[in-house]
Symmetry: C2
Subunit: 103 residues, 2 copies
């Protein structure tokens, strides 16, 4: 598995609009096991994205999906920048499809 | 919803043993919507934990569950320390129970 934990900084006041666009773009991405958006409780324009994919290739391929490309085009004007970004190697847990869990 | 993104540093060489104990302790925590453990690809003793709960209270209550207390007792000797820790306010996405998603 392949994971990403990252921060996206929305343009001022645009965080919820950006989240909305991103949630729309998340439908049916092959190999995507978990993709959760969260508001930062302290920085009002900051969004956290935590992702789990079955492989780095699935993540890479998702960027070419028409639904994702449309979301990126719509989202771009609302993005002020990016913050921290961590790659991870997910092992298992709760909230992943059953056959991906290590138990 | 309530989220946590955190780093746990295992004692040298104990990362996988610690992950194993933590995965065992994760069963049936009320209000836990997602709880994923990941290895850091660069730091060999570092574990990432990303959590989503229905409320901060469910997270707090989980610490009193017998299964979690047992896991903490078993895990403690294998933990060298904690790293970064971020609280988040999850909004939705893929990998959460259906009725928690904002769509």
């Amino acid at each position: 598995m392949y994971g990403l934990i990252g921060q996206i900084k929305a343009a001022p006041g645009q965080r919820d609009a950006l989240i909305e666009i991103m949630l729309e773009g998340l439908m049916a991405m092959p190999g995507c096991l978990s993709y959760i958006l969260a508001r930062d409780p302290l920085e009002e324009d900051l969004i956290w994205v935590t992702e789990v994919w079955d492989s780095p290739i699935s993540h890479q391929n998702s960027l070419g999906l028409p639904s994702v490309q449309q979301a990126i085009m719509k989202a771009r004007p609302l993005i002020a920048g990016f913050g921290q970004r961590f790659e991870t190697l997910p092992v298992g847990g709760h909230g992943l499809p059953r056959n991906q869990m290590q138990e």
